[in-house]
Symmetry: C2
Subunit: 255 residues, 2 copies
């Protein structure tokens, strides 16, 4: 029996599964209902990363809709970074590991669309990265500090053979955020340093100059953390970030 055939008898019972408890009467857009159902399964952990969803054709039967509908649902989920679609035999939709990169991309998209300047984004970043310094000072473990030092070492090596890049700098800042032992903070900072900053053309030209001096400041910062000197650490980080900010927007130098 095809979907078309049984439509008359069903009377649009409106699934009722996905939107739980008085689901909005919407019901216009079956594909959205499917999106919600699958999203829910993933959020509830009943589908774990790397799990494979049934093939499109199987899903058609299970949801009792056409393949087009299933496909549109999968596309939305894919765009949202919840699943990843591979073609070929043994292909299909796989639950993807939550990645800050996806969010970063979404952020970058919207920021590029809004009339946001690099200066504004940089300032927001400054606020956040400065704000976490006291937390870092308080919570950084010896392991954290060792990891930071290790990154500093690699940066100095990179300076020698001139392979220093913004990626290395980003790695440092993300690791600092990780010292808060707060996954939310870490993820946000990651988002900042991911596609977001990279998408700002202005940010790139700043990289080369940042090299030596930035690296030095990184090391001083770690020392301050190790001494649990919040004021000093904050001051160093402020100068460090401010220099980036000035480079990004020399004109907009406010205050």
């Amino acid at each position: 029996m095809t979907v078309e055939q049984r439509k008359s008898a069903s009377g649009r019972a409106g699934s009722g599964a996905a939107a739980g408890l008085f689901s909005p009467v919407s019901a216009v857009r079956v594909s959205q209902v499917i999106v919600d159902q699958i999203r829910l399964l993933i959020q509830q952990g009943r589908l774990k990363p790397d799990d494979r969803l049934p093939s499109e054709r199987d899903l058609c039967e299970q949801f009792d809709v056409s393949r087009v509908t299933v496909r549109e649902a999968l596309r939305v989920l894919e765009a949202g970074g919840l699943i990843e679609i591979r073609v070929g035999a043994r292909g299909g939709a796989f639950v993807s590991t939550p990645s800050s990169a996806r969010v970063g991309e979404g952020l970058a998209d919207l920021l590029k669309l809004s009339p946001l300047t690099a200066a504004e984004v940089t300032e927001a970043r400054m606020v956040f990265e400065l704000g976490i310094v006291p937390i870092v000072v308080e919570r950084a473990t010896p392991e954290d500090i060792a990891a930071l030092k290790e990154i500093c070492d690699r940066q100095q090596d990179a300076l020698k053979d001139e392979s220093y890049s913004m990626t290395l700098s980003a790695e440092f800042h993300v690791r600092v955020a990780a010292c808060t032992h707060n996954a939310a903070i870490e993820m946000l900072v990651k988002s900042f340093h991911g596609p977001l900053l990279m998408s700002l053309e202005e940010a790139k030209v700043a990289a080369p100059v940042m090299g030596r001096r930035g690296s030095t400041e990184h090391r001083e910062f770690v020392d301050a953390i190790e001494r649990r000197d919040a004021d000093q650490a904050t001051a160093i980080m402020r100068a460090h970030l401010q220099r980036t900010a000035d480079r990004v927007a020399p004109d907009t130098a406010e205050c």
Copy 2:
């Protein structure tokens, strides 16, 4: 001539939009190419918010693909918050105004999927909202302050007829962020107060108790801003947010 008929001669031209410089040879997925094209048009401002894209059937012709393909592309763009689709005559795809709500949803998704606690998210929010206080003190205009006072008034009215809600509180905090006159900061704070916080069940139970006291603190905060007293303002806001944090995670009361 149908699409099918001319397929042989086409030969895939690989977008190059999204991944910048040497786009992956992928090109398996015409719909993605369309997504990139439209996305580019929007980013370049050649399609402005509220502009209406051609109807699906028109786009089919212009891109020379089938309707399914166009639809999948539109779905992806819609999921990314770049366009909004309305049905009916005079319906179609409209370039949407960049909204922080979308970003917030993306963030909320990511956070919900990760094993993040409400306490972590709240702490991240604290860091950010505290960090902007000095900027607010510096940049708040008389109009900003007047707007904040007006919100305070409405909150007190709401207290009388017991209609005080988290929404009102959120409005205040977002308006405070707007005082930085930095769109990026405003957008981030909006994201925090939008789908993100709302998705945290724990946050809701905190609302009723916050009412009177929260309202008072709001007003004190505005006064401090008016006096340009950064220290005082920060102190008030810290206490205010800390109270929320304690409610959200009574157990995790750190520091």
